[in-house]
């Protein structure tokens, strides 16, 4: 078949940079990886048990398109509890196949040809292709380390044109670990309102925020600011908070008008999210808070450990306060991120994803995941250290 017979839009999309790196890693059998974007914990047993029980009970049918009523009600209670935002379970919440589906649907529900979608980068790999597939023009905002990779009012203002429709807010951020605090969001809100933008707030890492020693979790959603709920779709899911990546379960909360359009696409493309996963998720929200707290504490310990090790080897790295990634800078070595990562892999057998996998402005950075045991982190970082020392002494 000839390529010119394929969809030009699809052909035009670049394959994920992670995929390219994966292919190199896959040929090395004994590499230690710090490249994974998912929790190392198993799904807590009581949650798995509910999934198993639902299968034993023969709950193997479709649920309603928008998801199980019990689950939507639990999500409504959870949103109220954690963000202080009220959503009606019946028309402002629906269940998706992972947060990724919600991202795709939000763009498709809102975008008309030529609309612009603002995407701060470095960020998760799917916003840009989803925007393109929806017929929008992605406009990239390059976040800066000197701003701790937060989005500033000025950067936002400068990127807005009369075609701008959606702003993606990917915080806590993969790959930088940056968060947006309340005052950062408050600075953006008037601009969003002035230009009549919609916000896609991807809060999949909301439970993994580490700002205050004493606070349990301090994540703030833009939807909780005055006037923002009616123009924001909050995307979240069970993958990161409850270590449930393989269950493929997420959800979207927002104004009924948009949610109903998203459900329409969902009902034709997906029908409904996996039933077993939905039953397990009800248990997660009812009785999983202690698991989340335990995992958050454990990630925080590893975060401190990795930051300490990077400091020891003199690798500059801003202090991330969310997700489970650190994003050290490797510009001093005069190599591209790709070269650095590839050479590190070949010489020390450590797999770390180059920052460029998350946007061109990730050049000069690496994404280190700390969703690993301390022992594993120590082993890998000792190898990184000797690699770094070797590069420095050969200069």
């Amino acid at each position: 078949m000839r390529e010119d017979l394929l969809s030009a839009k699809t052909v035009g999309i670049k394959p994920s940079g992670i995929r390219k790196f994966f292919d190199i890693v896959a040929e090395m059998k004994d590499a230690i990886s710090l490249g994974v974007g998912e929790p190392d914990f198993d799904t807590p047993w009581h949650i798995r048990d509910e999934g198993i029980y639902s299968l034993e009970q023969g709950r193997t049918f479709y649920t309603s398109n928008s998801g199980l009523k019990e689950l939507k009600m639990e999500i409504a209670a959870y949103m109220q509890r954690t963000l202080g935002v009220q959503y009606h379970y019946n028309n402002e919440i629906f269940i998706t196949v992972g947060g990724s589906e919600a991202i795709d649907l939000m763009m498709r529900a809102l975008v008309n040809p030529g609309d612009e979608v603002l995407i701060p980068q470095p960020s998760y790999v799917s916003y840009e292709p989803c925007a393109v597939l929806a017929g929008a023009t992605p406009v990239i905002i390059n976040l800066k380390e000197e701003n701790r990779f937060r989005l500033t009012a000025r950067e936002l203002e400068e990127a807005i044109t009369d075609k701008t429709k959606i702003l993606v807010l990917p915080f806590p951020n993969n790959p930088t670990g940056a968060i947006m605090e309340k005052e950062d969001l408050e600075a953006l809100a008037p601009i969003i309102e002035k230009h009549d933008l919609y916000v896609l707030s991807d809060e999949i890492y909301s439970e993994l925020t580490y700002t205050d020693e004493n606070a349990d979790n301090v994540h703030v959603s833009i939807a909780s600011l005055p006037g923002m709920k009616e123009r924001t779709i909050v995307v979240n899911g069970f993958s990161k908070a409850f270590a449930m990546t393989g269950w493929r379960l997420g959800y979207a909360c927002g104004p009924s008008l948009i949610i109903q359009q998203m459900i329409k696409i969902h009902q034709y493309c997906i029908m409904c999210a996996p039933t077993t996963s939905q039953y397990a998720a009800v248990e997660a929200l009812r009785n999983g808070a202690e698991d989340v707290r335990m995992m958050r504490e454990s990630y925080n310990e590893r975060r401190r450990f990795v930051l300490h090790m990077l400091k020891e080897m003199d690798l500059p790295c801003f202090e991330p306060q969310g997700a489970f990634y650190v994003f050290p800078c490797i510009k001093e070595f005069g190599m591209s991120s790709d070269e650095f990562a590839e050479q590190l892999l070949r010489e020390e057998k450590v797999a770390i994803v180059p920052g460029t996998a998350f946007g061109d402005c990730g050049e000069g950075y690496l994404r280190i995941s700390y969703a690993y045991s301390i022992d594993n982190l120590r082993k890998a970082l000792v190898r990184l250290q000797s690699f770094v020392n070797r590069l420095r002494s050969s200069k």
Binding site: F22, G35, G37, D40, S126, E301, R304, F305, V353, I374
Partner: protein, 163 residues
């Protein structure tokens, strides 16, 4: 109990080899804080030792573990404490618990052979005057002990690189 102590206990319960400087790093505090907290908890008898989990089955060294249910007559003024003390002073006794339910004390014993365990039960334990009766169970296989699964090694099942 303050949260630092609780965090320390949670970590070293799983991995007592984590040293003081690493504990300070992961808990975001100074080493001296860790040293003091550990010392205090040792003095208070909260931390009673730092042991190693060994799966003896894999060493080829023969060992038998027995779980013995013991029914006793409690003693005036002392309840079960003095009889428990009589039993736990034997070095071959690993564990002594006071139980609710059908018997009083649970004694876990480790010996080299069946005969050795049987000898302890018949010659030492049963002959104590307050002991009314014993039931001995031998442990055939340990699947999980102290929260650690011994039956099989866990492996990272994740893909090596994911977004």
């Amino acid at each position: 109990m303050n949260t630092l102590k609780e965090r320390i206990l949670t970590i070293i319960e799983k991995n007592s080899r984590m040293d003081i400087s690493e504990l300070a790093i992961v808990l975001g505090t100074e080493e001296i804080e860790i040293v003091n907290a550990l010392q205090e908890m040792q003095d208070e008898g909260i931390i009673c030792g730092y042991h190693t989990m060994i799966n003896w089955d894999k060493t080829g060294i023969e060992k038998v573990t027995a779980l013995i249910e013991v029914r006793v007559t409690p003693q005036r003024g002392q309840g079960f404490d003095s009889i428990a003390e009589r039993i736990y002073k034997y070095p071959e006794v690993n564990t002594v618990y006071l139980m609710s339910g059908g018997y009083d004390l649970m004694v876990i014993l480790e010996g080299k052979t069946l005969r050795e365990v049987a000898g302890f039960v018949t010659n030492k334990l049963s002959t104590l005057e307050t002991v009314i009766g014993t039931t001995t169970h031998f442990i055939l296989k340990k699947y999980k002990d102290h929260g650690t699964i011994m039956a099989k090694k866990s492996e990272d099942q994740r893909e090596i690189v994911t977004p």
